[in-house]
Amino acid sequence: MNIHLQHILDTLFQIEAISDDQKSSLNKSIKDADKELTILEFKLDRTEKVKRTTAILLEETIEELELKRKAIEETNSALQRSLEELKATQAQLVQSEKMASLGELTAGIAHEIQNPLNFVNNFSEVNIELVEEAREELEKGDIEETKSILMDLGENSEKINHHGKRADAIVKGMLEHSKRGSGRKEATNLNTLVEEFLRLSYQSFLAKEQKFQCELKTNLDPDLPKVNVVASDIGRVILNLVNNAFYACDERSRSAVHQKANSENVASDYTPMVNVSTCQIPPEGGKGGYITISVQDNGPGIPDSIKEKIFQPFFTTKPTGSGTGLGLSLSYDIVKAHGGKINVNSKENEGTGFTIMFPI
């Protein structure tokens, strides 16, 4: 018992004036008080102990958290560096993809430039002869004939100039295509863009696969308004989709030939076909309008198992070295950057259709 309470109890017990009942009652009260005091002492002691431990624990935990914070900071810096390296690598990859598509175009572009160059060469050779003829006529004094030759000479020069400008435009287009980064958005005639890249792509594909024959169909909406896009970027998208369509048709064509060779009874009636169309879908029912470009082929189609992966970077079904796996991924990014959508609809053994939709 607490020494002071014990003293009080002892003293009270010595007082004769206090009855036994009162002493018994006082004894109980003092014992209860002692018990409460003991509990309070314990509570205070434990609270102090817990407080002390909590303070140490808190201090150690703060120190530990500080170390963890520093470790996270270092990891973060390392991640930041990795991210920058990744971005640089990505930029290089994008540029590589551009150059790869440019490479694919080379044959088509060469064909395109060869035509005007032939005209320039032919007409300039004719002009050399006409100059000689004019000189002879002048020496003869035949002014009328000289004038007639000069007129032909002028017309030929105009043709040379026209075809020179055409070659110039093709070269400029090629340079625009290979330019780094996206250009400015300009009101663009998508039909012209589609025709140009469809032709270039086909010429390029023919240069690689000389036996390839394909029925090209275009169904271009004559009333299509100009659309504000980065023409070179959208051109790359069209080129990519059309190239893939030719590739798919060529694959199916080879497969059909192979099948026929293996079985006399199977008739190979497969005709590759690529259909490119544009169309305008006006706003309706609260929904905004769209301008669409569709590229449809009748190739082997995309298996369901890989449909979800085709827009992933580096995913390709082409043999190693034949494709970067970035074409559709970049196309998706370009269309998205224009606020548009790109959808795919494919059935195995029937073909694949890609549709680009630009909001208007």
């Binding site: 314990f42 303070a55 140490i56 150690e60």
Partner: protein, 381 residues
């Protein structure tokens, strides 16, 4: 079913108390006997044998009855339950190996199922180093996932190795003793309540074997414990760890349910390893914990009041297994907890302060924990 507690400091005192009860018409058939660590219980066994009383006995230093906490006397809860409604099984478990623990417990679980359709298992374990989790796993695999498993590890400072569990004919210092009760005849209801609160950041146990934890976050476990708790431990007294930081058990964070409490019990100063009240597997996430607020005493008592109100308005006897860490953490208030539980049904009660408890937390199945007060009320149907 009638029950009565008697105490005595020698066999003769027990004989006198027992005969007094018998003369009043009480015919006990079962005795739960808890005696101090150094107590020679053979005389008491002989007295109970004379009266054909089956013994569920243990040496254990800190114990109590409905008369209060009493560490120096032998305490016995006598029950007059039909011997057909219970069995007592004692199995020696000389190894601390986890699998061995599972096998022994499963065997007892299967014995229970072979004897009764719905057995309940009340345990006193003298093998301090076997993971309690192994025993629970064994009982649940042998008797079904919903089996009632209640009890505790006997012993405590400073007599780690000098305690035994015993029956009328057998005794073992590394034994697993089990009282199997037929729940079709006796209602067995209980709950395990803890109250410790997690603090600090989660840490990982990086090396452990059974109940020994060697490293935490690759640092010797003892260093981590002392650093984070600021405790001063007598390095020559291995079990001083329990006295100094038993109040701050480790909480093992599981994938689901309540965290499981594992109080540190002893250390090995050569290896820096710490023996915990239960297994902590490698890779387990742990946190330190602070003792509960003082109102935990009311929480424990309320858990019994709720059960009384909702399920068991009357009981015949009460068994309590309270963690030794609670005794240290609640000090003189532990008496309030024990007495408060006793006040709920006001029936004869016996229990001891344990080194790990078996029981079910609210809404859960039986588990093994530290820092809990695991109580169980019995009522013959």
């Amino acid at each position: 079913m009638k029950a009565k507690t008697i105490t005595g400091n020698n066999p003769e005192a027990i004989r006198t108390a027992l005969e007094l009860a018998v003369n009043e018409g009480f015919q006990p058939t079962l005795g739960l006997v808890f005696v101090p660590s150094h107590f020679d219980y053979s005389g008491i066994v002989a007295v109970l044998d004379e009266h054909d009383i089956a013994i569920f006995g243990a040496n254990t230093p800190d114990k109590f009855t409905d008369q209060g906490i009493e560490n120096d006397l032998a305490s016995i809860l006598l029950i007059d339950l039909d011997p057909a409604f219970f069995r007592i099984v004692l199995k020696s478990l000389p190894t601390s190996d986890y699998e061995a623990g599972v096998i022994v417990a499963r065997e007892i679980g299967q014995i229970g199922c072979s004897q009764f359709k719905r057995p309940a298992f009340i345990l006193a374990i003298a093998q301090a180093e076997v993971p309690g989790e192994a025993l629970v796993e064994g009982f649940l695999s042998g008797a079904g996932e919903d089996a009632q498993v209640v009890g505790g590890f006997t012993g405590g400072k400073p007599y780690w190795s000098e305690h035994a569990v015993f029956t009328n004919k057998e005794q073992s210092q590394d034994g697993v003793m089990c009282l199997i009760i037929d729940q079709d005849r006796v209602e067995v209801h209980g709950l395990a309540v803890s109250g410790w609160k997690a603090v600090g950041t989660p840490k990982t146990v990086t090396r452990s074997e059974g109940n020994w934890v060697y490293t935490i976050d690759d640092e010797p476990a003892l260093d981590v414990l002392l650093r984070f708790t600021g405790a001063k431990v007598d390095m020559n007294e291995s079990d001083d760890l329990l006295m100094q930081i038993g109040t701050f058990p480790l909480q093992v964070i599981g994938n689901e349910g309540s965290p499981v409490m594992k109080p540190p019990l002893m250390f090995n100063k050569e290896t820096g390893a710490v023996l915990c009240g239960g297994q902590i597997p490698e890779g387990a996430k742990i946190r330190f914990s602070l003792p509960p607020d003082f109102d935990i005493v009311e929480t424990v008592i309320d858990s019994a009041r709720d059960l009384k109100k909702q399920v068991l308005p009357d009981a015949d006897a009460l068994l309590v297994f309270s963690c030794i860490g609670r005794q240290m953490s609640l000090g003189p208030m532990i008496e309030e907890e024990i007495n408060g539980l006793n006040e709920v049904w006001k029936v004869p009660m016996i229990g001891f302060f344990s080194l790990g408890e078996f029981g079910a937390t609210k809404g859960g199945k039986a588990t093994f924990q530290g820092t809990t007060c695991s109580w169980v009320a019995l009522k013959e149907k």
